[in-house]
């Protein structure tokens, strides 16, 4: 089959014609088309999660010297389906003194915010739910709903572990949103657009040299670390630290409501990887994408999966941070560095340098700030290390 014959526009045009021929009003056609698009995205998102959970478990298994799921279906691919079916049969327990409205609303909101985020992600130059001109801002706005959902679940469950998870949510998700936003703003400043597809288009020079990750490596690093925290991934998975607060804010959820949180978690990780791909790795850009627009989807999904793999890899390698260490890492390291970078990039852009020179200056500024930051961090850390201290003085008779 000739790949170039896949023209998504043709399918769209055919569907559009079908609706017109049914004699519907312009508004009605618009609404129906938008709904069909949303439905397609939803189905894509949910199917993707089934695959993502399998992938994460398989990867974790291989990294940990295990086989991973391999019983249900070929290569264990249907394991997630079996798990979902099992969760459907579970009793849906609501704690006696739970605050019912937020308790029941929270899992829905958790999934809702991730699916909302899918809307502005450009899968290719044309496959995009809504190419709105404030895409980045929109992503941050719907992202905040996620923290809301976790907070609601933690508060409403009437469980102390959930409450601890709840207040870790406030501390972590809200704090890490700041470096995340700052890191996302920098490519926006360079490209001059908040449109997600616009950001992907702006990185379109040959062979990926236009990717912002080359000119703004520090911005990407900050984004990646903050996205691990936003996605509740290790080493920042304190919200649901299973060895400390058992499951954190979703401890009281069972059955399908728990499955919703689970689904939201994996989809959120993937969406953050997708945002990273769009903003820093050229999105759907790749060789021959002009000739074959369908290749864009493949490039995009491939790059996103690589980022997702790195997330899973980090999880298998790093222990979990403690809440105070995580806070100080955010406020004493990530945020200052992001702010300095923000200022530096703003100044460089104001200089109006010619193109290759500007890119080089940006890269130099990034690397310089990164090295300075890490050196300063290392110095303060070295002071803190090797200094065992007692947190209190015991009152026992001295020998």
């Amino acid at each position: 089959m000739d790949l170039s014959s896949i023209d998504l526009r043709a399918i769209g045009a055919w569907f559009h014609g079908l609706l017109i021929s049914s004699g519907m009003s312009q508004t009605g056609i618009h609404v129906i088309e938008a709904l069909v698009g949303a439905l397609l995205l939803l189905i894509f998102g949910l199917t993707l999660v089934i695959f993502l959970i399998w992938l994460e478990r398989k990867l974790a298994g291989r990294i940990q010297d295990r086989l991973g799921p391999n019983r249900v279906g070929p290569y264990g691919l249907l394991q997630t389906v079996a798990d979902a079916l099992k969760l459907l049969t579970k009793e849906d327990v609501t704690p006696l003194d739970a605050d019912r409205v937020p308790y029941n609303l929270a899992p829905g909101l958790a999934v809702f915010h991730v699916i909302m985020a899918l809307a502005v992600i450009p899968f290719s130059n044309r496959v995009i739910g809504a190419d709105i001109n404030v895409g980045v801002l929109y992503l941050m706005a719907v992202g905040a709903i996620g923290s809301m959902a976790a907070l609601m679940a933690g508060w409403a469950s009437n469980n102390k572990y959930a409450l601890i998870g709840g207040f870790r949510v406030v501390a972590q998700l809200l704090s890490y949103e700041i470096p995340l936003v700052l890191a996302m703003i920098i490519p926006v400043m360079v490209s001059g657009t908040m449109r997600m597809n616009g950001l992907a288009v702006a990185q379109g020079s040959i062979f990926g040299f236009g990717w912002f990750v080359w000119t703004l490596p520090l911005a990407f690093l900050i984004f990646f670390v903050a996205s691990l925290a936003e996605g509740e991934r290790a080493p920042f998975d304190l919200l649901e630290a299973e060895s400390e607060i058992v499951a954190g804010y979703n401890i009281e959820y069972s059955g399908m409501k728990f499955a919703w949180f689970f689904l939201a978690f994996f989809m959120n990780s993937w969406v953050l990887a997708a945002i990273g791909t769009t903003i820093f790795f050229g999105g759907w850009q790749g060789p021959f994408v002009d000739q074959l627009p369908a290749l864009g989807v493949i490039y995009f999904l491939g790059k996103t999966m690589i980022l997702f793999f790195v997330q899973a890899w980090v999880r298998a390698t790093f222990p979990r941070l403690r809440i105070d260490q995580m806070m100080s890492f955010c406020w004493k390291f990530l945020v200052p560095m992001a702010l300095v970078l923000f200022a530096a990039v703003a100044i460089i852009l104001k200089l109006n340098l010619p193109q290759p020179l500007e890119a080089i200056t940006l890269l130099v500024a990034n690397v310089a700030i990164l090295l300075t930051g890490v050196t300063l961090l290392g110095r303060t850390q070295r002071k803190a290390l090797y200094a065992p201290k007692r947190a209190f003085t015991p009152t026992i008779p001295r020998l």
């Binding site: 974790a60 990294i63 940990q64 010297d65 295990r66 006696l96 102390k160 572990y161 409450l163 601890i164 290790a234 080493p235 998975d237 304190l238 630290a241 299973e242 060895s243 400390e244 607060i245 058992v246 899973a312 999880r315 298998a316 390698t317 790093f318 222990p319 979990r320 941070l321 403690r322 809440i323 105070d324 260490q325 850390q381 290390l385 090797y386 200094a387 065992p388 201290k389 007692r390 947190a391 209190f392 015991p394 026992i396 008779p397 001295r398 020998l399």
Partner: protein, 582 residues
């Protein structure tokens, strides 16, 4: 002058009632009213410095034909060690006044570790310790009637709800014992402030390694106090020992510290051998050393994996890596005795079977790859900044605190105390092997990580030397009164058949007496105190398990830290609830 008896006689002329020398351990009987003063003196006097209270218990002499302490039904017994003087042991006995309601002065002011031990003696034997700050039951439920280790406690009279048919009476109330939550008032320990959040951690919690329950008082995420609640796995092994024969109790010891069964076996059989006055042949001793050290590696690997799991989350790959090597060790155990976890390999007078021919080559292969694997763990964790941040300075235990709390094993050595019974009081010919005791001064969780990691390397060294110098000869003692004769002899010798019959019907009968013996198990000092009345069953068998004392320091180690650090502290103590609750 380091003779405790003479020094004590000089200091307290009226205190000493009698002295004896049981199994080369000086034993002093003192008057109960002088106990605290004697305790202070033995702890502080220069030249004595019995600073570690290894064990504290009491014995009910009701059915003892010739009581060790005539004139009292109960006597308290204390085993003191001097950490600074190579773990020299001293036994202190006190006849307890009060007849059926014995009382004793509390030693919590002298050795804080006595707190939990006295609670245990109160719980199981009903000894009232005067001056104890918090005398409550510790192992049995709060509403338990009676004290199970007393000799007049009805044995077997309990109603055991087991029946083959559903029509039986005990199923009539099935499900009714489950109480609704609101029926039971929230039982917050009195010392905790109701302004703070009191979190119940366990007995079912992923990080408590079994059924430990911690009542944690939190101010935000900061720990104000911790109240451990143990006993959920109390199986009454000490009571059980009184009704099984000596050789049959080996199987029970497996179930105590179930990740280092070989060590428990070893501690028990060495104690009984001490009581009998025998010693296993050199080959058996070497095999025991190999097994004990392999078990130490296996136990530390479980610790490493689960500690990393607690600190790092389920994704961390180290758990599976550590268990990969442990699997090899368990395969080796399976080769020698057919069992992997509950080995029961040691026997009184030797080991149950000789090493199979394939064992040594396979062990050599394993030892060849082991150092690389240790390096791999080190690369993953040692310089990992997050790992260091989570461990350094967390769970600090000073040298003095550690000794005062009766903490032994890697925890004590990470607090800068060079004390290891393998070096201090060698058993099983440990003095023949060349190995080092890793000691770190930092006293925090990171130091304990290093101690255990290096101990594994040293254990591998010992195993290497043991297989290189493995002596030939018998793996069982040739003493038909203790050890059953070989199978082939039964077909030829009437004598052998009689011995075999006698041993398996009556069991071996050690002389009347008492003995305490402790070894350096994976987690610290594992000791048995056995009182023999000359019959085939132990009259009283007390188990001193390392984790019991080690866990009692948990509040000291975690107070003031964050909630996440409590998990680190539990992990770094390396608790096994079977070891604590017995």
């Amino acid at each position: 002058m380091t003779d405790p008896v003479a020094q004590l006689r000089e200091q307290f002329p009226d205190a000493i009632l009698s002295t004896s020398d049981t199994s080369a351990v000086p034993s002093i009987t003192v008057k109960p009213e002088t106990l605290v003063d004697v305790g202070f003196f033995l702890r502080d006097a220069p030249g004595l410095t019995y600073d570690l209270l290894s064990d504290l218990t009491a014995v009910d002499q009701l059915e003892l034909a010739s009581p060790l302490e005539p004139g009292a039904r109960f006597y308290g017994v204390y085993h003191l060690r001097s950490v600074s003087r190579d773990g020299t042991l001293l036994q202190l006995r006190v006849p307890l006044p009060g007849g059926d309601t014995p009382t004793a002065p509390s030693l919590t002011g002298v050795w804080p570790t006595a707190n939990w031990h006295e609670r245990e003696a109160y719980d199981l034997l009903g000894v009232h310790y005067e001056g104890h700050p918090d005398l409550r039951r510790i192992l049995m439920p709060d509403d338990w009637q009676g004290h199970p280790l007393r000799k007049d406690y009805p044995h077997g009279g309990e109603h055991i709800p087991f029946s083959p048919t559903w029509e039986d009476e005990e199923f009539k109330f099935l499900g009714q014992q489950i109480m609704k939550a609101e029926q039971r008032p929230e039982a917050v320990p009195g010392r905790m402030d109701s302004k703070h959040m009191v979190v119940n951690m366990g007995p079912q919690h992923p990080a408590t390694h079994g059924v430990l329950r911690l009542i944690v008082e939190l101010d935000g995420e900061r720990i104000v106090s911790v109240e451990p609640d143990i006993g959920y796995l109390h199986s009454g092994f000490e009571k059980q020992a009184e009704s099984v024969r000596y050789k049959d109790f080996v199987y029970y010891t497996d179930r105590m510290d179930y990740v280092s069964a070989m060590q428990n076996n070893l501690a028990y059989v060495l104690t009984v051998e001490k009581l009998l006055g025998i010693e296993a042949p050199p080959r058996a001793q070497a095999i025991r050393v190999i097994m004990a050290e392999l078990q130490r590696i296996a136990s530390h690997l479980v610790w490493l994996g689960t500690h990393a799991l607690d600190v790092g989350g389920t994704g961390l790959a180290l758990l599976m890596y550590a268990f990969r090597e442990r699997e090899d060790i368990l395969d080796l155990f399976e080769m020698v005795c057919g069992a992997r976890l509950t080995t029961s390999y040691m026997r009184i007078g030797g080991v149950s079977a000789d090493l199979p021919p394939a064992f040594v080559p396979r062990l050599r292969d394993f030892l060849a790859i082991l150092p690389q694997r240790f390096d791999e763990y080190g690369r993953m964790l040692t310089d990992n900044p997050i790992w260091r941040h989570r461990l350094e300075g967390v769970g600090y235990l000073s040298k003095e605190d550690a000794i005062a709390m009766g903490v032994t094993g890697p925890l004590l050595r990470a607090s800068g105390v060079n004390y290891d019974l393998r070096k201090a009081q060698p058993y099983c010919n440990y003095d023949q092997y060349d190995f080092e005791i890793p000691v770190y001064d930092e006293g925090d969780s990171y130091a304990r990580y290093f101690v255990r990691l290096n101990e594994m390397r040293q254990s591998a060294r010992i195993v290497q030397q043991a297989i290189d110098t493995l002596p030939d000869g018998d793996f069982w003692l040739n003493d038909p009164k203790v050890v059953p004769p070989k199978r082939e002899l039964l077909d030829q010798s009437m004598e052998a058949l009689i011995h075999h019959f006698k041993l398996y019907t009556e069991g071996l009968k050690p002389p009347v007496g008492e003995v305490y013996y402790g070894i350096e198990a994976s987690k610290g000092e594992m000791g048995f105190y056995i009182v023999s009345d000359g019959s085939a069953h132990p009259y009283r068998c007390r188990v001193r398990t390392p984790s019991f004392s080690n866990l009692s320091a948990v509040e000291m180690m975690s107070k003031g830290h964050l909630f996440s650090d409590l998990v680190t502290v539990i992990g770094t103590i390396d608790i096994v609830l079977g070891d604590i609750d017995r």
